[in-house]
Symmetry: C2
Subunit: 268 residues, 2 copies
């Protein structure tokens, strides 16, 4: 069961007209025009979505293509280019973390046959820095680089449970989106869920984003003992053996923590 | 044997003072300040590397942090942020390709116990959109997002062999960097190598970047039959059974091609 087109990742990055006041802001608005449902855009799409004149958009797009942030296909449509992949590989909490975690996530995937995600907190959301999907089943929409709200994902609930109380309240008091009939959006219920996650060390959620999936998630600690990331496994609810999943997840999480070494992951 | 600090990925993106003439160019210069050997920079590092005044750098960095392209750690140093990972996930030749290829690359990794890379052509170089590394041995410097010159990598040689002749000559007539004593930089020898790759369908190179490694690489075709990417395996030369490796690589390549579906990968 896939996420409907109206919802899904990238929810926090619709173009923001307020940024268009500076030249640099206009360039960022061009980049913001791209999203999971807008991967390939014409020049006029970009101008419209970024709120720019066609000539300004043309000039900025030209500059971004020359730099490698965008590429132009044979039909004159633009998409995100590889220079951004190259740059994003430098993010200490991105592909570096992914790389440390990768073998353990593969083990986890093989042991559980579920979708495996590694997420970190960014702003008020969670961004997946790794996602390994089962080949056929569980076509849940989880990809590297996806951004989701915290209340609706296993990794997000874990990260929220271990965040500072002010941040928790900020998230819980903002409008909480419903992704499936089973998404919990009641702040009081969520507060109890977070307390339980802190107590048990494990988040278990059912159908929060897609029915009939069940997700089990645990925190990943950095060398300083702080929660740097969260790892989750999504399986079909009928197959979920929660306690068993929590066991292998905790093992994987400890293995990842060991590879994070003595230098704590920064920025959280 | 790792690559020395003087060489390595990212060679094509040292800051370019020529770009600083426009406001957007100055913002890209700030991003260009970051690289594999400059993952964490102070504000004055950024200003110096981007060729900007401290106040201009401060303003642009502030804007980039607000947008999520950069993040600031507790010690006031800046690094690349997760918004760029999120954006780069939209690149059709980046993480999308990676995702289609991933299970087959994992199989390849398991079958060969070597480092596995999936590379695409970008500008005059090759960018790895996936890299799976053996846990302990072969600590060759291959990571997702790494950019390498074509003449010195297995995937690059394959992509170059199947590129248009004008492009080949452009690459062969530019200065070719030596990464190890065994890197081939003689254009005539390289021309013969490219002809042989086209004939046999396989590139075999030994110690081109790191000694004592051997790399075997094959092309990945899109649904239109064009070379969209190249996949390679790096193993220790003493263990290389070239013919066997070429066989499993070709199988993996065909499996990846099938997942690329009827829509050709654009932009090449």
């Amino acid at each position: 069961m896939t996420v409907t087109a109206e919802h899904g990742p990238g929810w926090a990055h619709e173009p923001d007209p307020g940024r268009r006041v500076t030249a640099a802001g206009r360039m960022l608005a061009v980049l913001d025009a791209f999203g999971p449902r807008h991967r390939s855009l014409t020049l006029s799409d970009i101008a419209r979505r970024a709120g720019l004149s066609l000539s300004t958009a043309h000039r900025l797009v030209h500059e971004l293509v020359a730099w490698g942030a965008l590429e132009r296909d044979g039909e004159g449509r633009y998409s995100v280019g590889l220079r951004l992949l190259e740059l994003s590989a430098l993010a200490p909490r991105g592909l570096g973390l992914r790389e440390a975690a990768h073998p353990h996530l593969e083990d986890l995937h093989r042991a559980t046959h579920g979708n495996v995600q590694l997420g970190v907190r960014d702003g008020t959301g969670v961004v997946y820095v790794e996602a390994i999907r089962a080949r056929v089943r569980n076509p849940v929409n989880s990809r590297v680089g996806d951004r989701w709200p915290m209340h609706a994902t296993g990794t997000g609930l874990v990260l929220l449970a271990h965040a500072e109380p002010e941040f928790q309240e900020q998230v819980l008091s903002s409008p909480l989106e419903r992704f499936s009939p089973m998404t919990v959006i009641d702040p009081d219920v969520l507060r109890r869920t977070l307390a339980s996650i802190r107590q048990t060390g494990v988040a278990v959620a059912r159908g929060q984003i897609t029915v009939p999936d069940m997700v089990v998630a645990v925190p990943v600690l950095d060398a300083g003992g702080r929660v740097a990331a969260a790892v989750s496994v999504v399986v079909e609810a009928t197959e979920a053996r929660t306690r068993e999943l929590a066991g292998v997840l905790t093992q994987a999480s400890r293995a990842i923590s060991r590879t994070l070494g003595p230098r704590p992951v920064t920025g959280l």
